[in-house]
Symmetry: C2
Subunit: 582 residues, 2 copies
C-alpha cells in the first residue's frame, strides 16, 4: 500500500497541469478524436482527460440565480445590499458610527445599465487585501469566526462585481483609505473567473476623507420603485439599524436622507470558540489533528468554550481516555468515544457576547422612524443555543393608522379623522389587507423568498385571532400592522447563498413562535381597546343621529316650544349617555 | 499606475502565506491583542490580518443543507442518488448497458449509521483521477461541456464522502477497474476540507470484473421505507431509465431487482459549442481573449455553433468591425457593439444532438414497468432553445386502476371488480386523493422540494377540469393518476446545489404547460369514456335492481304464473335495455 501526501498525489498525477494548460483546448475541440472503447463508447482514459477543476467563480457565473442575480431588477438590489452590508460590518468592527452614501446612476444614459456606488466612513481596507476582497469569491474574514456579522460567506460583493463584469464588461472600481496617515488608493479590479482570482491595477489618488472605502460597480439592471426596490431595502435597513446615517441618490437625482436616530453603536461582539456540543465528529477529528495542545485535556480546555479542568476530566473519564494522551495520536474509534462522552456531559451554554441583539427600545425607535402607526411594541427574547451556536429572536409590531379613522381627543371626545391611503413607499398597508411582514437576519432586511422563510411560517402558524385580528387559514393575518422579526446569530442557516430566507430548523421555529406570541398578547390588549372605542363611537353616533328626530316627534305630540324641545334633547342625550355608563 | 499579474499580486501581498501558515493561529487566538484604532475599534490592518480564503469544502460543510445533507434521512438518499447518477452517466458515456448493485447496510449494527455501496459495470476511472473525483468538490468533466448529463456540477459524490467523513470519521472506499487489461485498484479517500483536496491511500487488489467502479461510504443516516425513501428513488429511476438493470439490497437484507425493459441505450449525446445568442457580454469578452483564432471572423465561426462565413460577415458588418481584426485587440466598447450585432442577427438554432429525450414509447414502457394502471399515454415535445441552450419537455400519464372498480368483459358485460388498496410502495394513490406527480431532470428523479419546482407550478396551473378531473383551486388535481414530467437539457437551472427543484424561468414554464395540455387532451377522451362506462353500469344496475320488483307486482295484479312472470321479466328487461339504445 503506498501512502501519498496531497501534494505528491496531485502533481504526480498531473491533476493541476490539466487545470493550467490543456483545459482551453479541450473545451474548443468537442469533436476531436475520441478514444473509443470496445462498446463504441468513451474509455476511462478519455474521460480522465476531461476531468478538471471547476473554479467557484465559474460555478456561480453559470448558477448566478443562487446568488441573487437572476433578474436585472433583483441584481441591482442585491449589489446595493452586498455593498451596504460590508460597509456597515466594517464600520461597526472599527467602532465608527456609519455614515454612508449610496447612489444609482444610469450608465451613459442607458435604461438597462447602471452604476451603483456605495461610500462609507469605515476603517478602509489595506492595499494587499482590496483585490482579494472584491475580486475573489469565498474570501473574507467572517466565515471562520463565531460572532454575529452581516456577511458570513465572503461571496457577496465579489459576486456583484463578477455580475457587473459579465453584463457590462467594466471592472469594479474601489477607493480606499485605511486611516488618516495612509495614502488613498484607487483600484480597478476584474475577477478572472476561470481561476477565481483578481486581476487589477492600482494608483495613488487624492481623497478628502480621513478613512473609508468606496465601491462602484457598473451592471445590467432594472430600476423600479415600490415593492422589492432599492428604496424599500434602504428603508428597512434604517428600521433595523437606527444608528446609521445614509444619503441616497436615485437615478433621477432625487435624494433621500435616512437620519440617524441613535448615536449608540450596536454592542461590540466577541468571537467565541466552538462549543463542544455543537462540534460534529469530523470537525472534532480535524480539531484534534490541528491543535497546538500537547494533551487531550489541554485541547478540550483551550480549543473549546466552557470547558474547564473538571469538565475536561469528566469527559476523558467517560470516554476512557487518559487526559494526557497526545490528541494527534487518537484513533478514529477513540474520537468516536470522546464525542459520545462530550454529548453525555453537562457543559455550560456558550457565552452570549458573540451576538448583539437590537433590543426592545431600539426596535421601537427604528419602527417609529420609518413606519407611521399609533401603537408600537417589541419583544427581545433571551438568546438560546442551537447546536452550540447562540441565537436570539426579536419581534416588533407597529399597529394602526392608515386605515384607522377614529381618534379620542384630549377632552375624551371621539372624532373621525380623514382616511389616509397608504402611499407606494409606506411599509404599512390598508386595514383590510394582509399585514406587512418585515424580516431581518443579523440586522439585514430579507427582501425575497418570503414564502420559503421560517419567519413567515412562524407568523402564519401563530393564531392571530387570539389577539383580535382576522386571519384566513394558512395565511398572514389581516390588519393595519407591520410585524418586524429579527434573528441575531453567529451563523444564520439560509436556504441559499443569496441569503434571502431562513431554513426551518425546529429550534429556530420554536423560538420564533414564542417571540410572536409574546408580542401578540401585548397587541391583543391594544386591539380590544381599539374595538371598544369603535363600538363606543358607533353607539354615540346612534344617539346623535336619532335623538333629534325623537325630539321633533315629542315636540309635535306634546306641543313643546323650541326652548323646551332644546332642553328635552339635552336631557334625553345625557340620560342615554349615562345609561350607557360612559 | 502599476500593473500586476495575478501571481505577483497574491504572493507579494502575502495573501497565500496567510492561507498556509497563520490561519490556524488566528482561529485559536480570538482574544489575542487587538490593534485598536482611535475610535477603539479594529483597524484596517488588524482586519486585513484576518482575511483569508474559504475553501469550497469548508463552505459546504457549514452549509451542507444546500447540498441535500440537512437531515440523516435525506442524507442517506442523497448519497445513493449521487452515486447512482455518476454510475449511469459513466455507463452511458462508455456505451455500456448499466448493471448496478446498490446496497445499504447498518454499520456495526448501529441504527443511525449505514454503509452505502454502489457498484457499476461502467468504464471505470483511471488511477490519477479517482482521488479527485471522490475527494474534491467542484471537480469533474461535465461542468464545461454543453451536453445532457445527470451530473453537472462536480460536487455530489465528493459531498457525500465529505458528509460521511464528518459524521462517521471513515474514509470513502473506492474500487475501480478501467478496462479488461487494467489492474483493479482499491482506494481510501478523505477530503481535506480546509484545502478542498483529497488525502488517500491506494493498493492493487483482485476484482472479478471486466471493468467498473464501486464506491462505499459510511454515513449517519436514517432508514425508512415509503415516501421519499431510497426505494422510491430507485423505483422512479427505473421509470425514467428503462435500460437500467439494478439489484438493490436494503438494510434488512431484502432484495429488489429492477429489471431492464429495453436493451436500447439512450441516444449518444454530442457536445456542442456555445450558441451566439446564449453568450453574455462578459463571456464573449473572455472567449475572444482566450480564442486560438487569429481574426474575429474566424473566431465567430470556430468558437460558436451555427455561425458560417456569411453570418460571421453579417455580424461584423452590423458591428462595424473588420472581420480580420485580432480578437485579443478588441476594446470592451467594440465587444459591446459585437454583442449587439449578434443579438440583432438571425442565427440558426443550435444542434439538438446535445440532448437525448426519453421518447414517448420508452416513457410508456417505463411507466408500465413500475406503475399499475389501465391507460398510459406520453408526449415528447420537440426541443426548443432557451438562451442558446436546447431543452425538451416530456410528459406521461398513467391513469386508473387502484380506485377503479368497473371493467368491461370481452363479451361487453360491465363487471364490478374488487377494490384494490394501493400499497405503501405504489406510486399511484386512491381515486379520491391528489394525483401523484413524478418529476425528472435529465432522467434523474427529483424527490424533494416539490412545492418549489417549476414542474409543480405548471401542473397546478393546468386546468384539469377541462380533461374531466376534479381540481381544487391552486392545487394538484384529484384522481387515480400518475403524471410524469421530464426536462432534458444541457443545463438544468436548479434552485439549489442539491438539485431538488427547477427554477421557474418563463421559457421552461411555457413548454411545460404545452406538454401537459397535450397530454391532458388525450387523457380527456379516455376519462370521458370511463365516465360513460360508469353511468352505463349505474343505469343497468337500476334495471337489474327494480325490474324484478315490478314483475312481482305485475304477477300479483295480473295473476301471472311463474313462467309468464319469468318471460315478462325477460321482455321488460330487453325492452328497457333497448330503449336505452345499448
Amino acid at each position: 500500500m503506498s501512502k501519498k501526501t496531497e501534494q505528491q498525489g496531485l502533481f504526480a498525477a498531473g491533476g493541476d497541469a490539466k487545470h493550467n494548460g490543456s483545459e482551453a483546448k479541450l473545451a474548443k475541440e468537442p469533436k476531436g478524436p475520441k478514444v473509443k472503447s470496445d462498446t463504441g463508447g468513451v474509455t476511462a482514459e478519455a474521460m480522465g482527460q476531461r476531468q478538471r477543476e471547476i473554479s467557484v467563480s465559474e460555478f456561480f457565473t453559470k448558477n448566478r440565480h443562487l446568488l441573487g442575480f437572476d433578474s436585472p431588477r433583483k441584481a441591482l438590489l442585491t449589489a446595493v445590499k452586498e455593498a451596504v452590508d460590508n460597509s456597515l460590518d466594517a464600520c461597526e468592527e472599527g467602532r465608527i458610527l456609519p455614515d454612508l452614501k449610496v447612489s444609482i446612476k444610469r450608465l451613459d444614459g442607458q435604461d438597462d445599465k447602471f452604476t451603483m456606488t456605495v461610500e462609507d466612513n469605515g476603517p478602509g481596507i489595506v492595499k494587499a487585501q482590496v483585490p482579494n476582497v472584491f475580486g475573489r469569491l469565498l474570501y473574507g474574514s467572517k466565515f471562520h469566526r463565531l460572532r454575529q456579522s452581516r456577511g458570513q460567506q465572503g461571496i457577496g460583493i465579489s459576486a456583484a462585481g463578477m455580475y457587473g463584469l459579465l453584463t457590462t464588461g467594466n471592472p469594479v472600481r474601489v477607493r480606499s483609505k485605511p486611516g488618516k496617515r495612509s495614502v488613498p488608493l484607487y483600484f480597478e479590479i476584474r475577477i478572472d473567473s476561470s481561476k477565481n482570482r483578481p486581476i487589477w491595477t492600482d494608483k495613488e489618488i487624492d481623497w478628502e476623507k480621513d478613512h473609508g472605502t468606496e465601491v462602484a460597480i457598473d451592471l445590467e439592471g432594472e430600476y423600479r420603485r415600490g415593492q422589492k426596490s432599492v428604496e424599500e431595502f434602504l428603508k428597512l435597513m434604517a428600521v433595523a439599524n437606527p444608528h446609521v446615517q445614509l444619503h441616497y441618490t436615485d437615478p433621477d437625482g432625487n435624494v433621500t436622507e435616512y437620519q440617524r436616530a441613535t448615536s449608540e453603536l450596536p454592542k461590540e461582539v466577541e468571537e467565541i470558540k466552538p462549543h463542544p456540543h455543537g462540534v460534529e465528529l469530523g470537525i472534532l477529528i480535524k480539531m484534534l489533528q490541528d491543535t497546538e495542545c500537547k494533551t487531550i485535556g489541554e485541547s478540550l480546555q483551550d480549543d473549546f468554550s466552557r470547558v474547564g479542568p473538571s469538565v475536561a476530566k469528566e469527559i476523558c473519564g467517560l470516554a476512557g481516555i487518559k487526559p494526557d494522551t497526545n490528541p494527534r495520536r487518537l484513533a478514529t474509534e477513540h474520537v468516536v468515544k470522546l464525542k459520545k462522552a462530550i454529548d453525555a456531559t453537562k457543559i455550560m451554554a456558550p457565552p452570549l457576547s458573540c451576538i448583539a441583539p437590537i433590543g426592545e427600545d431600539l426596535i421601537i425607535t427604528g419602527l417609529k422612524k420609518e413606519v407611521e402607526a399609533d401603537f408600537y411594541l417589541a419583544t427581545s427574547r433571551k438568546p438560546v443555543v442551537y447546536r452550540g451556536r447562540p441565537f436570539a429572536i426579536e419581534c416588533g409590531i407597529a399597529y394602526g393608522k392608515p386605515g384607522d379613522t377614529l381618534e379620542m381627543t384630549a377632552e375624551g371626545k371621539i372624532v373621525e379623522v380623514a382616511v389616509k391611503k397608504p402611499n407606494e413607499e409606506a411599509l404599512m398597508g390598508a386595514a383590510d389587507e394582509p399585514i406587512r411582514l418585515i424580516r431581518f437576519a443579523n440586522r439585514v432586511p430579507l427582501i425575497f423568498q418570503q414564502a420559503a422563510c421560517a419567519i413567515t411560517k412562524a407568523v402564519i402558524g401563530t393564531n392571530w385571532k387570539n389577539y383580535g385580528l382576522q386571519q384566513p387559514r394558512g395565511a398572514l393575518p389581516i390588519g393595519p400592522m407591520v410585524v418586524f422579526v429579527h434573528i441575531a446569530s453567529v451563523w444564520v442557516p439560509f436556504t441559499s447563498e443569496s441569503k434571502e430566507a431562513i431554513a426551518g430548523y425546529d429550534e429556530i421555529l420554536d423560538e420564533l413562535r414564542l417571540g410572536l406570541m409574546e408580542c401578540g398578547r401585548k397587541l391583543g390588549t391594544h386591539v380590544r381597546k381599539g374595538k371598544k372605542l369603535a363600538n363606543e363611537f358607533k353607539k354615540r353616533n346612534y344617539i346623535e343621529t336619532y335623538i333629534p328626530h325623537v325630539v321633533v316627534a315629542l315636540k309635535d305630540i306634546l306641543k313643546f316650544d323650541d326652548k323646551t324641545a332644546q332642553s328635552a334633547l339635552a336631557n334625553l342625550t345625557t340620560v342615554l349617555e349615562k345609561s350607557r355608563k360612559l
